[in-house]
């Protein structure tokens, strides 16, 4: 498969994403500068973590206006699969490709630690390879990861089975103490209604090699790869 990993000024998990897609999973992945207008020949787009534009104004607010985002919009509209991680999730929300927004952590502090994630649905191209009832251990690292959406949007998310991951206790319970940032419904990741665009605050690329303390993150990339296999390429501009 061919992946494009977008690179905004001050993306800083861009190389990590390429490393995992290329060196760990053996697929082709390249960085794509935000000033480009076209995605080229790609099967999937990954918007990596970081602090695009220094997170000035609001996280992701400025990045969404980069030229490349028009191409991503079109790619997504045509059914192309897009995954946003951390800052990538924030950008996708700002761009309106995913509902809701990510605001300051409830603690007002940046928080970097491994968390437990309940997989709310395996009925998505980003979670299909995850065994039923498996609790994932994946690190988070963010200051603005508190998911917010109004009640009707939350209702829609639930009704359409769009919630992918929720912060949980080691026993899989969705408690307040397990919630590192104050996200509504303990939401850590969601997908859009068409299920081809997803965003998540935790960093699966940091949990893809055993030496770094776990490989649960790989299940997410493996789901993506399974989904893409046998799929027709969406037209990309």
């Amino acid at each position: 498969m061919n992946f494009a990993v977008l690179q905004f000024p001050a993306s800083n998990c861009d190389q990590d994403a390429v490393h995992v897609l290329k060196n760990v999973l053996g697929h082709s992945a390249r960085l794509l500068w935000h000033k480009e207008n076209s995605l080229g020949d790609v099967d999937g787009v990954l918007i990596p973590g970081g602090f695009s534009y220094g997170d000035y104004l609001r996280t992701g607010a400025i990045a969404r206006f980069s030229p490349i985002m028009k191409a991503v919009q079109l790619f997504a509209e045509n059914g192309g699969m897009v995954l946003g991680i951390c800052n990538g999730f924030q950008i996708l929300c700002e761009a309106g490709l995913l509902p809701g927004a990510l605001v300051r952590n409830r603690s007002l502090q940046f928080c970097c630690e491994r968390v437990h994630l309940k997989v709310a649905t395996t009925r998505s191209g980003f979670t299909r390879a995850i065994p039923e009832n498996k609790l994932l251990q994946i690190p988070i690292a963010h200051g603005d990861g508190c998911y917010f959406a109004d009640e009707s949007t939350l209702g829609e998310l639930q009704k359409n089975d769009q919630i992918l991951f929720q912060y949980a206790t080691p026993q899989g319970m969705l408690t307040d103490a397990a919630n590192p940032n104050g996200s509504l419904l303990n939401i850590a990741g969601i997908c859009n209604k068409n299920r081809n665009v997803a965003g998540m605050m935790p960093h699966p690329e940091r949990a893809s090699e055993g030496w770094l303390g776990g490989t649960d993150g790989r299940l997410i990339f493996e789901s993506w790869l399974q989904e893409l296999t046998g799929r027709n390429k969406p037209s990309a501009t």
């Binding site: 104004l57 400025i62 929300c93 700002e94 927004a101 605001v103 300051r104 603690s107 917010f148 959406a149």
Partner: protein
């Protein structure tokens, strides 16, 4: 001319900064504080026809300067 823009969190959105400031103020002995909201203030120096500028600023507020999911905005032109 100068556009003075205030962006504030929507009432329904968790505002931990506001809460923290409120409790700090209360610890300092200020009483009767009902709520504190922490937002952003922007100044844009801009030239042009006032009505057109008003439309431009309004659009910029909607598109970039605020996020309607979590924030409200208001502005004045001076």
């Amino acid at each position: 001319m100068k556009a003075k823009i205030t962006v504030s969190p929507k009432k329904a959105v968790l505002d931990p900064q506001g809460k923290t400031v409120q409790s700090a103020l209360e610890h300092m002995g200020y009483t009767g504080i009902r709520a504190v909201h922490v937002g952003k203030y922007l100044e844009i120096e801009i030239e042009g026809d006032k009505e057109i500028v008003r439309q431009q600023i309004d659009e910029a507020c909607r598109k970039l300067l605020s996020n309607p999911v979590i924030e409200d905005y208001q502005f004045t032109l001076e």
